[in-house]
């Protein structure tokens, strides 16, 4: 347990989510990654729930600025509209007191709670199986808040309702953003013909996708096709740690071994069946997601259900935006993504993420992912300036 606690404390730091996280794990005894004055209250929370791990952090910038603003704008509940929130988080409650009773009230219902007391921000999440669960929730909360903050700003720009406080927060958050990567890494050159080559290429491309900030580590997926087999990252795997987490899935209906494969296997399968691509890379680059949610048609009858009902033929330059939910349901992206990606380098799924394809290897797919995200980032600020 000690090892796991240290591992996820380290991951929170390396992912830029927190500088000094507090992480605990509980089997029959509780283990913390470090001492802290917050621990007595957090142990009361731990004692009041049937869980085995807890994370409490002050978020690193720009998330700190973002949460300070969002908790003032949404004093009770933050409800981002992106896919991660809709599917997993539902919403993020906000409280004012760092007190076990109020934390428990909300954490018993939701996967996370934001404590905004004075100028302090604490994000608290938990797991019932592993600290990994608490890490994934925390990462998702930060991603969703980022998307909401920048999406709100653009929408408010369009409506002319930006407040001074919002502008100050925006300027500060923007100043804290990492500059965009302008060069791509040199990845293994394909086409690949052996399993060993594919595994190495997938592991390498996955790691760079996380390193470049194009996906939070437990989201996204990646695959490569050789002949009648799709090699794809497993469901819930971390793209920066794919060793042992890649499933070979035969396309000839001979095995169900791919049951642990990514929930987007069906979409990958359809893309491979209908195009001559060999590689697919799916990340959640933030500005692609934010821009996919930016729409000036405020009177649209599908407003509020854009993620499943948007019928507009929307593009960001050459990149289509399609609706679709995770997985294989009737409104799943497996129905919208594969037809849209034909003859395209990438497609953005509304409020969710970006899929890119390549015919040879991940160099091209990665390049598309980065270029499209950078293009979306530039377009975002261009639109903000135009308002």
């Amino acid at each position: 347990m000690e090892q796991l606690v240290k591992k996820y404390a380290g991951k929170l730091i390396s992912a830029g989510l927190a500088e000094n996280p507090l992480v605990c794990g509980l089997d029959d005894e509780v283990v913390w990654n470090r001492p802290d004055d917050d621990i007595p209250i957090l142990e009361q929370v731990l004692g009041g729930m049937n869980i085995n791990s807890l994370i409490c952090v002050e978020p690193a910038e720009p998330y700190l600025t973002i949460f300070r603003f969002l908790t003032s704008r949404y004093p009770e509940t933050i409800t981002p509209g992106d896919c991660e929130t809709r599917t997993f988080l539902h919403d993020v409650p906000v409280i004012r007191d760092f007190a076990s009773a109020s934390i428990l009230t909300h954490l018993r219902e939701r996967k996370s709670v934001v404590v905004a007391s004075d100028n302090n921000i604490r994000l608290i999440t938990f797991g019932g199986v592993s600290p990994e669960q608490a890490f994934v929730s925390l990462s998702s909360v930060c991603f969703s808040a980022f998307v909401l903050f920048f999406a709100d700003y653009l929408a408010d720009c369009r409506q002319g309702t930006i407040t001074k406080e919002q502008q100050r927060a925006f300027d500060k958050a923007v100043a804290e953003l990492e500059p965009p990567h302008r060069t791509t890494p040199v990845l293994a050159t394909g086409p690949f013909n052996s399993e060993q080559q594919v595994y190495q290429a997938i592991i390498e491309a996955g790691r760079f996708t996380v390193d470049y900030g194009l996906v939070d580590s437990y989201f996204g997926n990646i695959s490569y096709r050789i002949s009648q087999t799709i090699y794809i990252s497993q469901t819930g795997s971390s793209l920066d740690a794919l060793v042992g987490c890649i499933d070979p899935c035969p396309m000839d209906d001979s095995s169900c071994a791919g049951i642990t494969a990514s929930s987007e296997l069906v979409a990958h399968d359809e893309i491979y069946k209908n195009t001559d691509n060999r590689a697919i890379l799916h990340g959640h680059p933030k500005f692609a997601v934010i821009l996919s949610m930016d729409c000036s048609d405020f009177d649209c009858i599908n407003r509020g259900q854009c993620h499943i009902k948007c019928t507009g033929k929307r593009l960001i330059k050459d990149i289509p935006i399609v609706p679709g939910e995770v997985g294989t349901g009737p409104t799943g992206l497996c129905h919208t993504l594969p037809p849209a990606i034909q003859n395209k380098r990438g497609v953005i799924v509304w409020g969710h993420g970006l899929f890119t394809v390549a015919r040879k290897d991940f160099n091209e797919a990665f390049k598309h992912l980065l270029e499209i995200e950078n293009m979306c980032r530039e377009e975002y600020f261009a639109r903000a300036r135009r308002c």
């Binding site: 809709r86 219902e109 819930g236 642990t260 296997l265 995770v326 349901g329």
Partner: protein, 594 residues
């Protein structure tokens, strides 16, 4: 009496077969809130009589629905059948699908408590509040297929035993609506002990819902998470291939029990997987009431039209465990077990035990005749095997060949390949059961997140939390499989919307803890303790079949025992695994049987 009957009906049917009397029990609101329904409420009614022998006339036989049954909450058509096990002596509960819970609820009953013993074979027929105990003399001895053909009528639900129960098979099952099995722990024999051949139910009322809008919102969240689950709804998942879709995975992970758990890899597995069954038998989808996943598969090819396809456990144990490579033979064995009313896991595992002890090289030619001998009790060997593997092995002074815990044969996940599973098997209140904690979800299927399957670190608490969760799932009642996608957070929303009782996921987990602790308490009263919370010695001394870069070592006994001790502390048991007065009081459970 229940003050606000949303979700629940507030009435429990009590039938005494000694006196043929029928009356309605009306539990207080507090009882519903403390035990919810399903296995929780059934356990509440079992508790006062649990120290009686399984076939004592006053030992109750309990069939309970939950508050979500008959509502729009997904997968909530299930129910629980409970009593004391003739196979293990532990509490015996089994969650079953089909329509029985749905019809019972619509008939206006939250559950049935059956006491006494009929002098002659009987059936119970329920049409709303009209309840009849009828003569079933002509059906006694008939197989389940015959009973269904005679009694099944439209939406009416029928639960019946077959000849196996009547002939004293300790792992006899109850078959529900032809395709659904209340399989484990010999619950069918509890029916036979009361001379109860069948239960037939039809109802016409609708379940009252507190807040329909909130229920549909919770339903949407659950459906969205289900759709996002590759295991449930993916192209290789349960919806497409049934539970058999994990057959390949278990073998590739080197944890397919083979040759009575002497190996963990079956060379011929790739020829006998779910795809192979799909090609040969062209199965169609079928599901329990209220389920959109529809993981049950029904054959459509010539010779197998309408036959239930084997579930994963059956596929695995009737091939790898007994070294059989004939798929048709698996189909026949599955059909025969269903017709006789026998648990396929215990049946196959008992035959594997017999194969090892007898030194039989090839069982395939004897498989069907042996199952018939067991089901009919027609030979001494059949009658011996019908007592289960532990009894059979003990009678040959070779207990180590019975791969069971507390006498219940182990399912098709080798615990050397998933250490949480080893704890789950050892600690399960009904014996060697995979479903109490189902650690396969995180150790193999990566849900909600992946854990290291080759470590005991952290597993004691994980098992405890999962047991609490599954106890509440079986009480709501819903299907445990949907929790590979959705969570208790979403189901708490559904529960509150249906009943009007404000409850969070953590509140429900607390109720689950009470329900599960009550089971430990009942087992403690019957003398179960740490020595019973153990695995067959083979797992600690013999390695599994390594390969694919996976090394399958024997379990470290010391590490296992340390993890078990941690579990006892976390669960609030004494160091010998027995329930304590203090913890019982904390959970609001009566310590004295008054």
């Amino acid at each position: 009496m229940l003050t606000s009957p949303n979700g629940w009906t507030g009435k429990i049917l009590h039938i005494d077969l000694d006196t043929a009397s029928i009356d309605a029990l009306r539990p207080e609101t507090e009882v519903y809130h403390k035990y919810i329904g399903g296995k929780g409420l059934a356990g509440y009614y079992l508790r006062p009589k649990v120290t009686l022998s399984w076939n004592h006339p006053r030992m109750p036989l309990l069939i309970f629905t939950g508050p979500l049954v008959g509502t729009a909450a997904p997968t909530s058509g299930r129910s629980t059948i409970m009593s004391r096990s003739p196979l293990t002596g532990t509490i015996a509960d089994t969650s079953v699908g089909g329509r029985i819970g749905f019809q019972l609820k619509r008939a206006g009953w939250d559950g049935i408590v059956i006491t006494g013993q009929s002098e002659t074979p009987c059936g119970i027929e329920i049409d709303d509040d009209k309840v009849r105990i009828v003569d079933a003399g002509e059906l006694w001895g008939k197989d389940t297929a015959t009973v269904f053909s005679l009694l099944a009528d439209g939406g009416r639900s029928v639960a019946t035993i077959g000849p196996a129960a009547e002939n004293g098979v300790c792992f006899a099952a109850v078959m529900v609506d032809k395709h659904h099995v209340a399989g484990r722990t010999g619950i069918g024999l509890c029916f036979a002990a009361k001379k109860l051949k069948y239960l037939s139910v039809q109802g016409s009322s609708k379940v009252r819902i507190h807040d329909r809008k909130k229920l549909y919102a919770a339903r949407e969240e659950i459906l969205r998470l289900t759709a996002a689950s590759p295991i449930l709804m993916g192209q290789h998942g349960f919806s497409c291939f049934g539970t058999g879709s994990i057959y390949d995975l278990m073998d590739s992970r080197r944890m397919m029990p083979t040759d009575n758990f002497r190996k963990t890899h079956f060379d011929r597995a790739s020829e006998l997987n779910a795809h192979a069954y799909k090609k040969r038998y062209d199965p169609g989808k079928h599901g329990c009431m209220g389920c959109h996943i529809r993981c049950k598969k029904i054959g459509r090819s010539a010779g197998y039209v309408g036959s239930s396809m084997p579930e994963f456990e059956t596929m695995s144990h009737f091939t790898a465990l007994i070294d059989n490579t004939d798929m048709d033979l698996v189909m026949q064995a599955n059909t025969l077990c269903n017709h006789y009313g026998m648990d396929t896991i215990s049946a196959a595992a008992t035959l594997a035990c017999y194969k090892e002890i007898s030194g039989t090289k090839d069982l395939s030619g004897r498989l069907i005749p042996l199952l018939e001998e067991i089901g009919q009790g027609s030979t001494e060997l059949g009658r011996q095997l019908g007592k289960g593997s532990f009894h059979y092995a003990s009678s040959h002074n070779q207990q180590t060949a019975s791969m069971s815990v507390k006498g219940l044969e182990l399912p098709a996940y080798d615990p050397r390949g998933a250490y949480g599973m080893s704890l789950a098997y050892a600690l399960a209140t009904r014996g060697g059961c995979h479903l109490r904690a189902y650690p396969v979800s995180h150790e193999i299927l990566r849900k909600p997140v992946a854990t290291d399957r080759f470590t005991f670190s952290g597993k004691a608490r994980i098992i405890k939390i999962a047991e609490d969760q599954n106890a509440i799932v079986d009480s709501l009642t819903a299907c445990k499989f949907i929790f590979l996608g959705a969570g208790l957070e979403e189901y708490a929303g559904a529960f509150s919307a249906v009943t009007g009782v404000a409850a969070t996921a953590q509140d429900l987990l607390k109720v689950g803890e009470r329900i599960y602790y009550l089971e430990r308490l009942m087992n403690s009263l019957n003398g179960f303790e740490a020595k019973d919370d153990d695995l067959p010695g083979r797992f600690f001394t013999e390695a599994g079949t390594s390969g694919n870069g996976i090394e399958v070592r024997p379990l470290d006994r010391e590490a296992f025992l340390e993890a078990r001790s941690r579990y006892y502390r976390i669960r609030g048991l004494d160091e010998d695994g027995r329930a304590t007065k203090e913890k019982s009081k904390e959970l609001g459970l009566a310590w004295n049987n008054s």
